[in-house]
Amino acid sequence: MKRQAETDERILQEKRKVQSDVCQLLVCGLLLATLIQQYFFHAPLAQYAVELVAALLTAGYVVVRNLIAGNNTETNAPAKRTLLGALGSGAVVAVLLVVLAGFNAVETAVFILCYVPISFLVVQGLSSLSARRRKKLDRELGGDE
């Protein structure tokens, strides 16, 4: 029975789903812990650095694994859409910085000027990597013969 349970595709599938849910909950918990410590407790970076780094590494891992697998990671958007996304997310973060961290106008402007091009370049870079990977998969597996 135990051996059957180990090879049972349904049980393995359910186990993976549970593990995936746990992982998502952990990442949300890490981000929440970081935000609470940073904005509500005004803790120094050293206090929540491990959570922050772990959350960022997890996000990076998800993106890289999806790229390696050639999955559509929502990063193959056209340049115009990527730019709009960078502007939108930059605006949201800027508002949060002003409201929660008390940034003044100059600091906010500097942030937006740095964030938007960096965000745009990173997303475009990931997009081209993903497209290249998909093309490679097409070349290797797309033939009918």
């Binding site: 059957q4 049972d8 595709e9 349904r10 049980i11």
Partner: protein
């Protein structure tokens, strides 16, 4: 939708759910769920079940098949 064809084929072979489960390397509950239509097996498992029961995929898993 219940998979009565699979259940009939199993009974025809005088096999219990446990026997079929052991033959294809899954638990009895999985076989029960497939027969009850509550679990969608992978193609590999479908093929394994067909081989054990001596039926084709059409006969066991195609809804329109007689």
């Amino acid at each position: 939708m219940k998979n009565l064809k699979m259940k009939a084929a199993r009974v025809e072979r005088d096999m219990k759910q446990e026997d079929l489960a052991k033959a294809v390397g899954v638990t009895r509950q999985t076989i029960g769920l497939i027969e009850a239509g509550d679990y969608n097996p992978t193609l590999n498992l479908c093929v394994a079940i067909c081989k054990v029961l001596g039926k084709t995929l059409d006969e066991l898993f195609w809804e329109g098949a007689q």
